[in-house]
Amino acid sequence: MRIFRLMTIAGFAASCFTCAASAQTAADLVASQKSTKEILTYGMGYNAQRYSSLTQINRKNVKNLTAAWAYGLSDQLGLEAQPLVHDGVIYITNHNRTAAVDGVTGKELWRHNIDYPSETTRVVCCGIVNRGSALYEGKLIRGTLDNYILALDAKTGKEIWKTKIADIASGYSITGAPLIANGVIITGVAGAEFGIRGFLAGLDPATGKEIWRTYTIPAKGEKGSETWEGDSAATGGGSTWVTGSYDPELNLVFWGISNPAPWNPRGRKGDNLYTCGIMALDPKTGAIKWFSQTDPHDAFDHDGVNALVQADIKVNGEAKKVVMQAHRDGFLYVLERATGKFLAVNPFVEMNWASGWDYKTNRPMWTDVYTKALAGEKVEVWPSLTGGTNWHPMSYSPKENLLFINTFNVGMNYQAGDPEKVTAGQRAQFVDLTPIKPANMGYLKAVDPTTGKAKWEIPFKVANTAGTMNTASGLVFTGQLTGEFIAVNSSNGKILWKFQTQSGIIGQPITWEKDGVQYVTIGSGIGGVYAMRTAAAEVTHVPTGSALWTFKLQGK
């Protein structure tokens, strides 16, 4: 096994010999972005592009893609997690299980179960799920709904340490995957619907000890606290529930900060720092290096946590190192990684609350939809609180300079009545909402990062809430809420292959190789707040139950 591992990462042998005892060092994590065998981080590499250079499966032969195996998770509540792959072993997580599975045979190697207290899910706003784990020095690291970070022995599944970082009674939960950057475990928290004070925490992978904590909402008297009305900051939300990305060269971690609490804006006048924006931090200390706010004083739960994808692209003819975010609010943001400067901001979906971006003030150009909403009037808002897209990550093709995004086409009738006080730990929204659902509730779009314009789009009656992934052979993989796993031609949007899985897909596809065979792996298992709440009527004929599927070409 050891010998094989050394072979598979021969490219980084130098860094590995110095640490022979431990796999997945900080250098391995950096290098895995280019590896076709190892998927060691959320996002399939620190840049979160979800792009693979593998080409064995291509546009011509994808029709011969066939199921190699399926692994059931004995669970009804949904499978959102991105699997990891190391040494041909797949690691998969959901709300109550972590499992290691042989990637070639689908046989379970170990499983570890989680029992959380029965009041836990009361503060889980958006699906009883987990989105993934992290690997570091032989440990498989994940969060739990009741706010523990767990480190398991990646070989055996035995618990090594367990650290509690927050209380469910105060409204916190963890659903996102940890990010390990420069040797520090970084985790976010959920709970902006329950009046939390959001934060990011850094933990030591060896011991589980918390090294730093950076609040996203300033304390009384701190800089930024003047952007909140009265004492509204104390329960101001600003959760960090979706995993960010890391630039090892700049040594910066990028993380999206969610909406302010409550959704009703009328009792928290001001910009509400540091909600609804992108934050860059030093992973060693948690120090904030820059913060770029996308939605000052958000009224619509246009939660800013969407995937932060890095690339080196041309903006107005100039080469730039950027971080990109297709935001809930409907804008596609392109920011300079070193400074947080807004380089390009364009709509990628139908939107009416802003008419554009003001690059002088670095603020949206609000329309009367927004000002009327603040005045308590009833308004029709696009996109709805579900957003132009949501947590499910987009992918980027450096070859084609396109982003592949599963978007929503859902609006809402919205009214914020008189504001009420938030109690930490209790659900706080205080707005009246009804979704507006057109015939096609979503699209898969191939979007130009600097214009927001779609090169092609595929309409879907029921919106997709799965991640996308793409390969150098020009294929985009994603899944439908009705269970179809699909492969799409990345240059024209033609669906080339389709496979009906046993449930609805809300997972994140990955591709990897072992012994010269390319595999594609995806979780199927309907769940998440969109399926449970908004699109319930559309998915009543989609059975529940979670399974991890792996595909390869026939005859391989």
Binding site: L77, S118, R122, V124, I128, I526, M532, A536, A537
Partner: protein, 106 residues
């Protein structure tokens, strides 16, 4: 929400006698209070307006004689269904039950 809630909770206390017996005929206001509590606390998992995706239990399936089951599950939780002890009070249970029964399958 607070003034209405207080008002309707009073109403709910007054009318609690008739709820158990004939939920279908529950006073409109109690159903409304239940709808609001449902929308805030239950809809994220059980579906807008009680339309279930089938992921969490379809509450419209609860039969008239299942009030004890309802009370027990909401108070104590069941698997991933959270316990609402200390949050959903007796009076909220009455209102929720009225709302659910008013929309139950025949």
């Amino acid at each position: 929400m607070k003034p209405t809630l207080v008002a309707s909770l009073t109403l709910c206390a007054l009318s609690s006698l008739i709820i158990g017996a004939a939920a279908q005929d529950a006073p409109v206001d109690l159903v409304k209070v239940g709808a609001k509590t449902y929308d805030t606390n239950c809809a994220p998992c059980h579906g807008d307006k009680l339309v279930s995706s089938g992921i969490a239990f379809d509450l419209k399936r609860l039969r008239e004689d299942e009030r004890p089951r309802f009370d027990n599950s909401v108070t104590n939780g069941k698997n991933a269904m959270p316990s609402w002890r200390g949050i959903i009070k007796e009076k909220d249970l009455d209102a929720l039950w009225a709302y659910i029964r008013a929309n139950a399958y025949p």
